[in-house]
Symmetry: C2
DNA sequence: ACTTTCAGTTCGTTC
DNA sequence: GAACGAAGTGAAAGT
């Protein structure tokens, strides 16, 4: 911890902010403030106690006492302005592209910290849509027995077909993979099938592959003679873990964490 | 500030967490930790220094030193588990619907704070899509002169039409408002127009109203004989401000902020 | 409680 | 740099 100031006065705080805001430090301010945003939209946040922090890549967050998401933010700040005022502390974070700014006016400061966090590790996450793709690629049987994948990301005038395949009766199969399917997904699959019907002869099957389904979407599918195959997300994740374990050791390194 | 512990030991910290996690306090822990998430997906975050906080509504956030968004989170936690271990502090946040959990294992604690933030004010924001709707409602001329609004949110088999209107030549006009238009917006507008063509006689015009437009989407529109009208977001916001100012004083109240 | 749609979406990838 | 789609999307409004 570089600095920890409890109930700093505005000039003291301004000095610290001017020194550290523009550098790669994490700065946190808890205090009573008002916040104004202007840019793509415009917002106003009246007086309240909040947690404000600037991260080491100059991201700015204003968090209230509730809610997962911040009240105001700025993903990347280009320029800062700090001013100690008679009865407050003014902070302005501006960026271009898009042009927007967040202005914070503190009326009371509870505490302020400056620190440098070391975090070299990356988040490894599985369960995205692309992981379903990989599962199908490795084991087409999870869709249907004796299914043969012909092409992935097959281009059509209506867009890219996730998986283009052939079933055991030599029918072409258009497969659309969606983690979160909705009505548009059905329409899209229908358009793909129509494109393939123009390009190829015979019966063209359309299958929506998803980890969840609702009755409504299922009925949309049935109205259009399209099919649904359920995939278990747990299986998808499990198949990844098997691969991951086999590669163990490759990315095994330890980062240094100096005790500050 | 209820509590502020610098470099607490694990048992000390566990005690505080057990006392305050389940209550309406904001709890923040800075420290070296690993994080695992399992639920809709599965993620793993190796050792790193992070800011963890639990908000007063039991939202949980794990922030790294970079990026606007948290590394891990939980919008609402149903149950907590805290355990002081020999060489660490274990924290588990679980929720149902969907079933998921975040597990944090601290190996080092830099500091821990407990506080109660008072923030009764709500974020007032303008520039949403609905604000464009209101602008049109107040002043249909911004779309086109002598345009008369017949119905808003008109239902059709293809969905709800934002604004259904009639132009000065007595042609029906289907208006779709989008803050962020894309290809699907065009298709949707086209479907609405087709529905109206079945229901009514004569020429049916389709207009996409948006604050921004790309050449590509514009050409999609033209291919389908659909039109585009640009709205200036600044004007939309300005018209709101005029209304807001006229209502000044109505929502003018001061919340109490006790100095703790 | 479930569905639908918007978001200052953000973020990544690809062209 | 624009465009397209996914997200552990989240959040709000309507049913």
């Amino acid at each position: 911890m570089e600095k920890l100031l409890e109930n700093p006065d505005f000039e003291e705080a301004a000095e610290v902010l001017k020194e550290y805001l523009r550098r790669e430090y994490t700065v946190q301010i808890n205090g009573l403030c008002t916040v104004n945003y202007q840019g793509r939209a415009k917002s106003k946040l009246d007086r309240g106690e909040r947690i404000v922090f600037k991260k080491q890549d100059s991201a700015l967050l204003v968090h209230g006492p509730e809610n997962y998401q911040p009240k105001n933010w700025q993903p990347e700040v280009d320029s800062w302005r700090v001013e100690a005022e008679e009865e407050g502390l003014f902070l302005r974070a501006e960026r271009t592209n898009p042009d927007e700014s967040v202005e914070i006016r503190f009326e009371d400061l509870e505490f302020l910290t400056v620190s440098q966090l070391v975090d070299k590790s990356e988040l490894k996450i599985r369960g995205h849509e692309v992981d379903i793709h990989e599962s199908i690629e490795e084991e087409p049987d999870i869709i249907e027995e004796e299914l043969k994948v012909i092409e992935r990301e097959k281009e059509t005038p209506a867009g890219f077909i996730d998986v283009f395949a052939m079933d055991k009766d030599d029918n072409y199969v258009v497969i659309e993979v969606k983690r979160n399917p909705d009505y548009n997904t059905v329409l899209q699959l229908q358009r793909y099938v129509e494109e393939i019907e123009e390009e190829f002869q015979g019966v063209i099957r359309g299958i929506l592959v998803a980890p969840k389904m609702t009755d409504k979407i299922l009925s949309y599918l049935e109205e259009r003679d399209l099919e649904f195959v359920d995939v278990d997300m747990e299986d998808v994740i499990a198949s990844y873990e098997a691969v991951d374990n086999s590669q163990k050791g490759l990315s095994d390194f330890s980062a240094d964490y100096s005790t500050k």
